[in-house]
């Protein structure tokens, strides 16, 4: 072995030690980063469960708020408001969402199809507060007052991209042979879509809808100046007095939707800004309810999606 070769051998070992070290260091850094990012997740969940768990009780779900400074009371108004807004939003968002998803899944490469997917992506990136401003300009200003109806529309716009995208994914997973079989039997395209493809993808579509609801249920910003908030909202009383006054269903519904309502995140935000300790305590409890609701939907939806994907692909 020449001196030159010896030199190479010697240096090679030095270089490769450095490279091995860098390799090990950086690869383990990625693992550390992952752990680091998960700290806030467990911290938040743990703390909200610990703090919220102390203040949660049955009254919390069944009572409306007491006047400031008095202990007790609950957030029934916000639960009802969330329900009202979510139901309205679903009614507004599901039909156009699913229809548009049919187009996106059926014609992905036409000009309109590409434009549709693009605008879905862009719409999902529009800040929720901007959607709130838009709905204020379009609905609240012409109507002259804040309402649960306006909140529902804002939420619908927020849910639309999620519904379109998940529905499109699920429709694409339906085997093409199923569609061909139906078409070969002479069924028109729309019957194939509605009676064959839609039922096959229905589980996934419902999951996507649940995810959209989970996303919308946690949003506050678009409700700030559409639904506004209303501590005296009481669904039971509205319906009871409506029946007592012999009002029709449409009149009662109008009274339900046509006034400002609260929602859980909106209540959380307002309570957290107030200087009263019992309000702060309640805001922790609201945070717990909200988080459990949203995490449950998410976990449930993920499990469902995975099992469906496996069933459809396998």
């Amino acid at each position: 072995m020449t001196r030159f070769q010896q030199l190479i051998e010697k240096n090679k070992s030095i270089v490769s030690t450095r490279r091995k070290f860098t390799n090990m260091l950086m690869l383990s850094m990625t693992g550390v980063m992952t752990l680091f990012a998960l700290i806030p997740l467990f911290w938040i969940i743990g703390y909200v469960v610990y703090k919220g768990g102390q203040y949660i009780n049955l009254d919390f779900f069944t009572q409306t708020p007491r006047p400031l400074g008095i202990e007790g009371g609950g957030v029934l108004h916000a639960i009802e408001g969330t329900l009202v807004i979510t139901v309205l939003a679903s009614i507004f968002a599901i039909p156009p969402g699913i229809l548009a998803a049919f187009y996106a899944a059926r014609y992905p490469n036409t000009v309109l199809g590409v434009a549709l997917r693009f605008s879905t992506d862009v719409l999902s990136g529009v800040p929720s507060i901007v959607i709130g401003l838009f709905v204020y300009a379009v609905v609240v200003k012409p109507m002259g007052h804040y309402s649960g109806f306006a909140g529902g529309i804002a939420m619908a716009i927020l849910m639309l991209p999620t519904i379109i995208r998940t529905t499109e994914e699920m429709l694409k997973l339906v085997p093409y042979t199923l569609r061909e079989g139906s078409l070969a039997l002479g069924a028109p395209e729309w019957k194939t879509s509605v009676n064959v493809v839609l039922p096959a993808a229905l589980n996934g579509i419902i999951t996507g809808f649940l995810l959209a609801v989970a996303r919308a249920a946690g949003e506050t910003a678009p409700l700030l100046f559409t639904a506004l908030g209303n501590e005296r909202y009481n669904l039971g009383k509205i319906v009871q007095s409506g029946i007592a006054q012999k009002q029709g269903v449409s009149q009662i519904l109008q009274r339900v939707f046509n006034q400002p309502v609260d929602s859980l995140p909106l209540t959380l935000w307002k309570y957290s800004q107030e200087p009263y300790p019992e309000r702060i305590q309640q805001s922790w409890a609201v945070a717990l309810v909200l988080m459990i609701f949203i995490l449950l939907i998410n976990i449930f939806a993920r499990i469902w999606v995975e099992s469906r994907k496996r069933a459809l692909q396998g």
């Binding site: 693992g31 549709l116 693009f118 990136g125 529009v126 946690g218 100046f225 935000w269 922790w284 995490l295």
Partner: protein
């Protein structure tokens, strides 16, 4: 009626109309097209409405509304508004968040796509997605009462002590640090946590889309795994990762509630990261429902318009970048 139509000649318009409806494909077709166009119109309608509703503010204040000023004014009483402090606050917190989130997210994405065992990938994926699923008000609540006092305040104090007196960048770290910890730094930290899932998810998809022969070629040349990742995979997916960054930035710009709760909501001239401030989204959230004058609410809508256009442009660029990666990669090569 039906009988009457059946007796009509084949070419009669009523016969054709009946066929048209009873077969149903054409109405179906137009319905789904209408739904698609509805979604597209929504974007334009948002832009147009905000543009129209902010007309007076735009004509009154002109471009001076948006340009940097040394002594900005936000005065609902005298109807004099300049948005620079909020634009600055948004940009500062978003970029600071991006700076912290980027290395962490890329680390997680590399770990998830390249290193972690198969059984760990799915649970990890879920956990990161859960991070995105937690409502922003919950982040905010946790931020005010836990995160600000325990993490942000000490870090801000430390930054102030070490960097506060340095000549040039000292302006960014000027004090005094608020006792509560409510500051732009707090907002930036919360935003960091909130955009990590976005960047991670896209970067991971980009890494998974890189064909395997790239890895094999690099490893066959004698590169270590890290060298393969750093010198081959990340440059290969660079445009996609850039797309991820821009998507994350878009999310950070528009994030409202959590930021409003921790940033301290103060209109002051300080440029410091350690002082309380405002972002564009948080000033709208705080003042719009109680806007005093017409010009006040119009000025807020104009801020919304600027925010809308910022996110619109960022999202467009990001989507184009991510799509370009997807198109370059042959379908069968994806992992």
């Amino acid at each position: 009626m039906t009988k009457y139509i059946q007796t009509l000649p084949e070419t009669h318009w009523l016969t054709r109309a009946r066929r048209f409806v009873s077969h149903g494909d054409t109405p179906w077709h137009w319905t789904i097209i209408a739904a698609s166009i509805f979604v597209m119109i929504m974007i334009m309608a948002i832009g147009w409405m905000l543009w129209r509703e902010s007309a007076d503010a735009r004509t009154t204040f002109g471009f001076g509304f948006l340009t940097p000023t040394v002594d900005p004014s936000w005065d609902p009483v005298n109807d004099n508004f300049q948005a620079w402090p909020f634009i600055y606050g948004t940009l500062l917190t978003s970029f600071a968040a991006m700076l912290i989130a980027l290395p962490i997210s890329i680390g997680i994405a590399v770990f998830m796509a390249e290193l972690c065992p198969e059984w760990l990938r799915l649970p990890l994926n879920w956990l990161v997605e859960l991070l995105a699923a937690i409502p922003s008000v919950v982040y905010g609540l946790w931020g005010i009462f836990i995160f600000l006092p325990t993490v942000v305040a000490p870090v801000a104090e430390w930054l102030f002590n070490t960097l506060g007196t340095t000549p040039v960048i000292g302006v960014m770290f000027a004090g005094p640090v608020p006792v509560s910890g409510s500051s732009r730094l707090g907002a930036a930290f919360i935003l960091t946590i909130m955009i990590i899932p976005t960047i991670t998810a896209v970067t991971r998809d980009v890494l998974l889309a890189i064909p395997n022969h790239q890895r094999e070629a690099s490893l066959a040349m004698g590169a270590t795994q890290w060298e393969t990742i750093w010198q081959v995979l990340l440059p290969y997916g660079l445009s996609g990762i850039l797309g991820a960054v821009i998507l994350g930035l878009g999310r950070a710009l528009g994030e409202t509630m959590a930021v409003t709760m921790v940033i301290g909501n103060s209109i002051e001239g300080s440029a410091s990261l350690l002082r309380p401030g405002y972002t564009m989204a948080s000033i709208i959230a705080n003042e719009f429902a109680e806007a005093v004058t017409k010009l006040h609410s119009q000025a807020l809508i104009e801020i919304g318009l600027v925010l809308f256009f910022m996110t619109l442009i960022l999202n467009t660029i990001a989507r184009l970048l991510v799509w370009s990666v997807a198109r370059r990669t042959p379908q069968e090569a994806r992992a």
